[in-house]
């Protein structure tokens, strides 16, 4: 198989950077460094979590809808200071990452994700699985999410959703 080395380098570099970004996104949440999570988005970035049930029916409702970093920061402050819930941790697994294209400095990517949630008593369950649909751009040398849409396969949320997916 012959390959255009320059194009290859570029594709590889892009893939590498996007993969690293996804890994960093996972570790930021799974390490409970949630104060750093809004910084993975652009100032006006949007973050939505919805279900296949709503998504496939074209229903606009989301479980979480953050329109800009401010709302993301409010969510994090709220879960640190105001909300009551049983402490728990996530383990993110992402797979089937595809960089769908890059144009005008914007990168479109998607991946499958699974979030395993572990409770203090010790039970680990599949809290969520589904698909990320993302638009990323580069800002001062780092990739940031202009948009992340997480579509959960299940209609259901067990107990509550407080930590971002």
């Amino acid at each position: 198989m012959t390959i255009d080395s320059a194009a290859l380098d570029h594709d590889l570099a892009l893939r590498l950077r996007v993969e690293d970004f996804y890994a960093e996104y996972s570790h930021t949440i799974d390490d409970d460094r949630l104060e750093d999570w809004p910084g993975l988005f652009t100032e006006n970035g949007t973050y939505r979590v919805t279900t296949r049930e709503n998504f496939d029916s074209g229903l606009p409702l989301a479980l979480i809808y953050c329109d800009g970093r401010g709302m993301m920061e409010d969510r994090i402050s709220a879960l640190r200071t105001a909300n009551i819930y049983e402490p728990h941790v996530y383990c993110h697994l992402t797979s089937a990452l595809r960089v769908l294209g890059a144009s005008g400095g914007e990168i479109r990517a998607r991946a499958n994700f699974t979030v395993l949630r572990t409770m203090p008593e010790g039970d680990t369950t599949i809290f969520a699985c589904g698909r990320y649909f993302d638009r990323l751009i580069e800002e001062d040398g780092r990739l940031k999410l202009r948009e992340r849409l997480a579509v959960l396969d299940s209609r259901q949320v067990d107990t509550l959703l407080v930590v971002p997916i």
Partner: protein, 416 residues
């Protein structure tokens, strides 16, 4: 049959001292009581929310739902009328609808192809004459006696309710005019579904039913809530309770009272004052002709009607076992919402639902009771706020009257 069924096993259950302000923990943990609730409450003299009319706009539209944990179909017939029936084939009992929604000419059970019209009447039996004159239906078979089991249906402001019992009074009489007025208030014009949430609660269904009637907890458990003045004990409002005691309405108005009682309490929830970076999710457009910011209404046993600012929804309680409950949120707007209003509703809905900044706590607190309950099923809760009886309360929500009303309804249905 004479066997030791739930009803005979649970028969000896008695309510301690006939006191509505104490409930034995056993009611949350006993599978025999759970089975009896299916028969005496959900299939008893109660109205249960099934669907919204706007979910079934066209003839042949159907939706599969549950009453208690019994699968039920609600459908719109050719003549526009709405029927509801148990989602269980009259032949060998397969789910007739195994998809959650759809549009059909008739209901066809895939197992043996028996067919039913949209009202659940048996219209066809495959090979009823057999093949080549062999086999086929028993001579004495009477098709008219083998339709799907039907529920009686009523609608109110676009909400569809069903009941298994002939004794259930008409819906408005069931909840009373005073509470019916709030349904008129919240749903004054054609509705539009913005989406659904489904939340699994790790607890008995009654813990969530009580939670909605528990106007005492709102300002104490939901900190985000009162920190931002959506509900504060020192705002106006009150609790209305139907004469039966079964149903309630808790509401809040922007009318300030003296802050002193609040000051006197060291309420955890007021300890830190906290401001939003982006307050757009708290915007409130007064759209219902009054200054009520927050109205939570229950229709015994399984419906909650919600107005929180501009977040409108109905919540249906679906028991899934003695210690597991599904809460189905149908989030609503009005057909004539403009884009700005639609966007506002989507933002305000950050406050409610399974990830709701002011409602998520209700998702876990019931589970904490469930886990503690089994320590001793014969101990009881106490509900002493606002006395021991079931009366409405003007100007204060610091009462458990509506919760005691829930137990009044439960005991009357269960016969304990």
């Amino acid at each position: 049959m004479a066997m030791a069924t739930a009803s005979t096993r649970a028969a000896g259950f008695t309510w301690p001292n006939n006191d509505l302000s104490r409930a034995p923990y056993r009611v949350y943990t006993d599978p025999d009581l759970y089975a009896l609730e299916r028969e005496r409450i959900f299939q008893g003299p109660t109205w249960n929310f099934l669907a919204l009319e706007c979910e079934l706009p066209n003839p042949g539209d159907y939706k599969a739902t549950y009453v208690g944990d019994a699968p039920v179909i609600v459908a719109r017939a050719r003549d526009g009328s709405i029927s509801a029936m148990v989602n269980r084939c009259a032949h060998k009992g397969a789910l007739v609808c195994y998809k959650r929604r759809g549009n059909v000419r008739e209901f066809i059970c895939v197992y043996h192809n028996w067919t039913y019209d949209l009202a659940g009447n048996l219209t066809g039996v495959a090979f009823k004459r057999g093949v080549a004159g062999k086999g086929g239906l028993a001579a004495d078979f009477q098709p008219e006696r083998h339709g799907l089991e039907k529920l009686r249906v009523e609608t109110c402001r676009g909400l569809i309710f069903g009941t298994f019992s002939d004794d259930t009074p008409p819906f408005v009489a069931y909840i009373g005019a005073e509470l019916a007025a709030n349904i008129d208030r919240v749903f004054p014009k054609p509705l539009k579904v913005l989406g659904y949430h489904s939340q699994i609660l790790p607890n008995n269904w009654k813990l969530y039913a009580e939670n909605n009637k528990d106007s005492y907890h709102a300002s104490l458990l939901h900190v985000f809530h009162n920190t931002f003045g959506v509900v504060r004990p020192n705002m106006g409002g009150g609790v209305k309770i139907s004469n039966s005691g079964w149903h309630h309405l808790s509401y809040t108005q922007r009318v300030s009272l003296g802050d002193d009682e609040v000051a006197r309490e060291k309420v955890r929830s007021l300890q830190e004052q906290y401001r939003l970076k982006d307050p757009r999710m708290m915007e409130h457009r007064l759209e219902l002709g009054d200054n009520i910011t927050n109205a939570i209404q229950t229709v015994f046993p399984s419906l909650v009607v919600q107005q929180i600012l501009n977040a409108l929804a109905v919540r249906q309680i679906q028991p899934k076992g003695v210690d597991r409950t599904e809460l189905v949120w149908t989030v609503l707007g009005f057909e004539d919402d403009d884009e700005a209003m639609k966007e506002l509703r989507l933002k305000v809905n950050n406050l409610v639902g399974p990830a709701g900044l002011i409602s998520m706590e209700d998702g876990c607190v019931g589970g904490w009771v469930q886990r503690a309950a089994k320590a001793n099923p014969d101990a009881t809760t106490v509900m002493p706020m606002g006395g021991r009886n079931v009366e409405a309360s003007e100007g204060s929500r610091i009462t458990e009257a509506a919760v005691r009303g829930f137990w009044k309804g439960w005991r009357e249905c269960m016969g304990f």
